[in-house]
């Protein structure tokens, strides 16, 4: 086994442990946590047994296993960026909602104070 493989596998194990800790402390939902666990074990498996990607690549009509890994990685990354962007927009919209409601209730309170 090459040093590179060893380093990546150790990193994947570390990442999986971190995910597990996050699930236990409820810092990460179970579904999302399961996704990340499968992801890191998958990366570890592909790095430890590179020939498996060639087998899969041949079945899917891609020439080399390494190409398949790159294609899948790019698709997964794009999807994650998309999800993050949506999440960020949702967060922004929630912040706006809070800020607007605070401004309106403050104005209402000031108006009531003036009346009394």
């Amino acid at each position: 086994m090459f040093a590179f493989q060893l380093i990546v596998i150790i990193f994947c194990l570390y990442a999986a442990v971190r995910v597990w800790q996050k699930i236990r402390t409820r810092g990460l939902g179970k579904r999302w946590g399961a996704f990340w666990l499968v992801f890191w074990f998958g990366v570890g498996a592909v790095v430890a047994l590179p020939w498996t990607t060639s087998l899969l690549a041949a079945r899917l009509g891609v020439t080399r296993g390494v190409d398949l890994v790159i294609y899948v990685s790019v698709i997964v990354l794009f999807y994650l960026v998309f999800r993050l962007t949506l999440k960020l927009e949702k967060l922004e919209s929630n912040i706006t909602k809070i800020v607007r409601e605070a401004a309106l209730s403050e104005a209402k309170k000031a108006d009531n104070d003036l009346k009394h």
Binding site: L86, K90, E92, A103, A107
Partner: protein, 230 residues
């Protein structure tokens, strides 16, 4: 008829008092939304006689307009006018803008810089930068495609809504895309609209505060995001 004017303001300490005083010559009901300004915008507006609502954080002109429109509606306003804080607009245009809404000829009156009075694609004092004119032309085309509305000016902040029309709008764009979103909503809801000629004064101050070309890309991005989020 109770007329309220909503002015979203961000770091407009220098101009806001003058703007509020001018608008108050038309109506005493002026709502300034201080959108998280770092200067004394809110205090200056309050001193000038406006009702001030304060956003603790800067959330953009679209969000500030929504807050102001809601506050105006709660106060019992029957016609709600949106107005800019940078001194570009003229309060003298408000009565003509409000008249068709008040008379029930339309639900929304949209101010336009480009109708008859000054001829198409000209402006009151010849100071509109070429890039801005080009961007506005592109916006007209975009609006025509997305809403089917044949307008002469799509990004004019001077508008008048009947209370009922304002209540129906489902606005979500916090930042500059709200101008296009308002038109999309008018089209979606089938509201009756009219364009009314208004004057926009291009001063060094307003030009420095105005939108840049790069803003157009952000507007398109925000519009796409808001349509996905709906």
């Amino acid at each position: 008829m109770k007329l309220a004017v909503v002015i979203p303001a961000y770091n407009e300490e220098k101009m806001i008092a003058e703007v509020v005083k001018e608008v108050r010559t038309v109506t005493p009901h002026v709502f300034v939304v201080d959108d998280g300004s770092a200067d004394g915008t809110g205090a200056a507006a309050a001193l000038a006689g406006a009702t001030v609502l304060r956003h603790a954080l800067n959330r953009g002109q679209g969000a500030a307009l929504r807050t102001g429109i809601e506050a105006a509606a709660r106060s019992g306003a029957e016609v709600i006018v949106t107005y800019d804080a940078d001194g570009q607009m003229s309060a003298a245009d408000i009565p003509a803008l409000v008249a068709p809404v008040e008379a029930g000829f339309c639900d929304v009156a949209l101010g336009s810089r480009f109708i008859v009075d000054h001829g198409p694609w000209t402006m009151d004092n010849g100071r509109m930068p070429f890039v801005r004119r080009l961007t506005l032309k592109a916006a007209l085309l975009f609006t025509r495609i997305t809403t089917g509305m044949k307008l002469t000016d799509t990004h004019n902040g001077l508008r008048a809504f009947s209370r009922e029309a304002a209540a129906k709008l489902d606005l979500r764009c916090d930042r500059m895309a709200h101008a296009s979103e308002i038109l999309e909503e008018i089209s979606r809801l089938g509201l009756r609209y009219r364009e009314i000629p208004v004057t926009i004064k291009y001063t060094d101050y307003s030009l420095a505060k105005g939108q840049k070309l790069s803003g157009a890309f952000r507007i398109i991005r925000d519009l796409l995001m808001s349509s996905w989020m709906k």
